[in-house]
């Protein structure tokens, strides 16, 4: 999108006004200072997705749009989890974090703060794998993604 004030609200507005779902939304500047990149995860049947794509393309601030679910793409999301970690829990929590390729960023005598990246489903699996009561706080960045291969999104 154009890196303009109001561009993000146009997108958010469109979704709420037309009753589309937003599962997650991330936006950040790119290497080109006039552009920012917005990644949005939504769901709906084929007709709804088609309308969402068309409506987004209609926004003057949207420069290019790709549906990553239609190409081979990598999805990545960052998660920070603060867990309870006392007694025997401590070793178990560390082991699970290792299995999922996570890192322990902060340690207190009662907690761990773990960093994890991966596709959203992997992060979900981690949360399912650890004891529910142990979760104190979860922060997720929302998904971003990029197409595989030589194809690149340019203005």
């Amino acid at each position: 999108m154009e890196n303009e004030a109001g561009a993000l609200s146009r997108v958010a507005n469109l979704f709420s006004a037309r009753g589309y779902n937003i599962e997650s939304l991330t936006v950040a500047p790119t290497d080109d200072p006039t552009l920012s990149r917005l990644t949005l995860v939504t769901y709906g049947n084929e007709q709804i997705i088609e309308q969402i794509v068309k409506q987004l393309n209609k926004l003057i601030d949207v420069v290019k749009l790709i549906d990553l679910s239609e190409t081979d793409a990598i999805e990545r999301e960052l998660m920070l989890v603060k867990t309870r970690a006392v007694g025997e829990q401590r070793a178990e929590m560390k082991r699970l974090a290792d299995i999922f390729g996570g890192r322990v960023l902060d340690v207190t005598d009662a907690t761990y703060t773990i960093e994890l990246t991966g596709a959203g489903s992997k992060l979900d699996n981690f949360l399912r794998a650890i004891e529910k009561d142990a979760i104190l706080e979860v922060v997720r960045s929302g998904a971003t993604g990029i197409a595989l291969g030589q194809k690149a999104l340019h203005a």
Partner: protein
């Protein structure tokens, strides 16, 4: 180069853009702009009496002549008053450029005096909007605004101007052309799709052409007429599309939809190929979606991809502008000497003529009480079908659409998408500015007219004589009709226990007022009114309060489930229908 203020730049931009009229209303935030307007004569400012009217007048002007309408309002209440007019233009895809004053940039976000978030409030009802924070970007932004408003699917664009930007100085340079990397409407249709469409169109046994506002917006009427006559197919128009094809021609089967003719809706329902052109499959047209054109394969020509397959899945989509696409279709047919199935077509026409013979627009005449339909028929005769007609919203609007036969585009001006009561009078004024020498009549109702009545003063000031045809039934008739049918005649808040004396009221504004109570006086009054070329005349016709609009497809009904006047004792609607409007 000379340095000039933002306000002066704005006025120079308007001049360079060829803007004739600016409809507006002053206030603190736009004082600099008004000061710049004071010292020039190129752009004529029309001082309305309410900002909503400025928008409707600019809108009526644009619908009448095709050029963009331009309006100027102050910050805060000026802008909020304008919002209805902006939304109205948005729903009907009318190109407007609206300038609003804003508090100085340094005060934005401080709850300053007369501050509202104009860009935020209007975002859902504009094609695009801008907040100009730097005077050096002003001219370019104005150019973008006009470009976006008038190209692709047209629509209103708002430019919000903080007061300090109108005071700051810079050099003036108005770009001749503008290119936006993220906006590039497709005008030319895809050749392969056009070829596919032509094949499907010519294979039809029971074809139907369904066209809408897009034909009028794109001035595509000549191409539509040529294609329709080349094919010999029946054609129907939406409420927004009336006039694109001459209503007096035999191939025209009338308007379709909720209050469309029997033959139009039956032909839609039974067609095997539907050719939709610049129409958006609105719910007033489709009725219940799963009963819409059940046997048809559909071609859809529209400049806006998001209009295509939004409500109804189509078989051959063509993104492009009407005149371009139709010209391409005509060439394919002519160059390759392609033919339609004339035998099947003759059979289809026989069927349509049977539906026509039902005469779904017939109504019971009366010698005692004025029937509203009769007033429109007489208006049609006396103006020889040539007047520009604007309308408000309600039963009178439907009767206008049904009984005035529009033979040319831009002759019929009404609020379809938003259905804004109060639109008719200021729109008529706008149309009169566009065509001072044409007869302009505003067909209105006792409810609607009271929403923008103050504009009678503007019309006096600028001498824009319009004939106001008030179908005074004492009711919010359209709502009363629904209460009669669907709420067991519980007429809650639809009867006016008090109405003004419209004759005196009009005279107070310096115009001519007439009250007509007998059917025998209708014609004479209309003749008298139209003979007064340079006067605005308010014709207050006291009409049958119990008259209803027929045919009618109740909400939730399918196209073939029409109620015809007097013949069908109503009425229950499906529960599903009740949740629809």
């Amino acid at each position: 180069m000379e340095l000039i203020t933002g306000a002066e730049i704005l006025v120079r931009c308007l001049k360079d853009e060829g803007v004739e009229y600016l409809f507006g209303y002053p206030g603190g935030a736009v004082l600099h702009i008004y000061d710049a307007l004071y010292v020039q004569e190129d752009v004529k400012h029309i001082l309305v009496r309410h900002e909503q009217a400025a928008l409707h007048a600019a809108d009526g002007y644009s619908r009448a002549c095709g050029r963009p309408g331009v309006a100027l309002v102050t910050s805060g209440p000026g802008l909020t008053n304008a919002v209805t007019g902006i939304a109205n233009a948005y729903m009907d895809s009318i190109p407007l450029v609206v300038f609003s004053g804003q508090v100085p940039t340094a005060l934005i976000g401080n709850d300053a005096f007369q501050e509202v978030d104009a860009v935020g409030i209007t975002r859902p009802c504009v094609k695009h909007n801008f907040l100009v924070k730097d005077v050096t970007k002003l001219a370019e932004t104005v150019k973008k605004a006009f470009y976006i408003a008038t190209t692709g699917r047209p629509g209103p664009v708002l430019v919000d101007l903080p007061k300090d930007v109108t005071i700051a100085k810079t050099e003036y340079h108005y770009p001749k052309k503008i290119k936006l990397r993220s906006y590039n409407p497709t005008v030319k249709g895809h050749a392969g799709q056009i070829r596919k469409a032509v094949d499907l169109i010519l294979s039809a046994k029971r074809p139907m052409i369904y066209t809408g506002g897009g034909v009028i917006l794109s001035d595509g009427s000549p191409e539509l007429i040529e294609l329709t006559q080349l094919l010999g197919y029946p054609i129907t128009n939406t409420l927004m599309g009336l006039g694109a094809y001459p209503a007096t021609d035999r191939q025209f089967v009338g308007m379709l939809g909720m209050h469309g003719t029997y033959e139009a809706n039956m032909a839609m329902h039974h067609c095997d190929v539907l050719i939709a052109i610049g129409a958006r499959f609105d719910d007033r047209v489709t009725g219940k979606l799963d009963k819409f054109c059940p046997t048809a394969r559909i071609v859809h020509v529209d400049i806006d991809p998001s209009s295509i397959s939004k409500n109804v899945k189509v078989d051959v989509p063509i993104v492009g502008s009407v005149p371009n696409v139709l010209r391409a279709m005509i060439s394919v047919i002519r160059d390759e000497k392609l033919r339609s199935d004339s035998e099947a077509l003759a059979h289809w026409w026989r069927q349509i003529d049977e539906w026509r013979a039902v005469k779904s627009l017939s109504y019971r005449h009366s010698n005692e009480v004025i029937k509203p339909q009769y007033v429109i028929e007489k208006l049609y005769q006396i103006t020889e079908g040539k007047a520009i007609i604007t309308s408000d919203v309600g039963q009178h609007q439907m009767w206008a659409a049904q009984y005035y036969l529009f033979d040319r585009p831009r002759q019929w001006i009404n609020s379809g998408g938003l259905g804004t009561m109060g639109f008719g009078l200021p729109a008529a004024m706008g149309a009169k500015f566009a065509f001072p020498d044409e007869d302009v009549a505003c067909i209105t109702g006792d409810g609607s007219i009271q929403m923008m009545l103050q504009e009678l003063a503007t019309m006096k000031q600028y001498q824009t004589p319009v004939k106001i045809v008030n179908l005074n039934n004492g009711y919010l008739g359209m709502v009363r009709q629904w209460q009669e049918f669907f709420y067991q005649k519980r007429y809650c808040m639809t009867y006016f226990e008090s109405l003004p004396d419209f004759v005196m009221l009009t005279e107070a504004y310096g115009h001519v007022g007439m009250r007509i109570e007998k059917p025998g006086d209708v014609e004479g009054a209309l003749r008298e009114a139209f003979a007064m070329k340079d006067r605005t005349v308010f014709l207050d016709f006291v009409t049958d309060p119990s008259e209803n609009v027929f045919p009618m497809i109740p909400s939730g009904g399918g196209q073939s489930e029409m109620l015809l006047a007097e013949r069908d004792e109503m009425v229950s609607t499906h529960h599903e229908g009740m949740v629809l409007l």
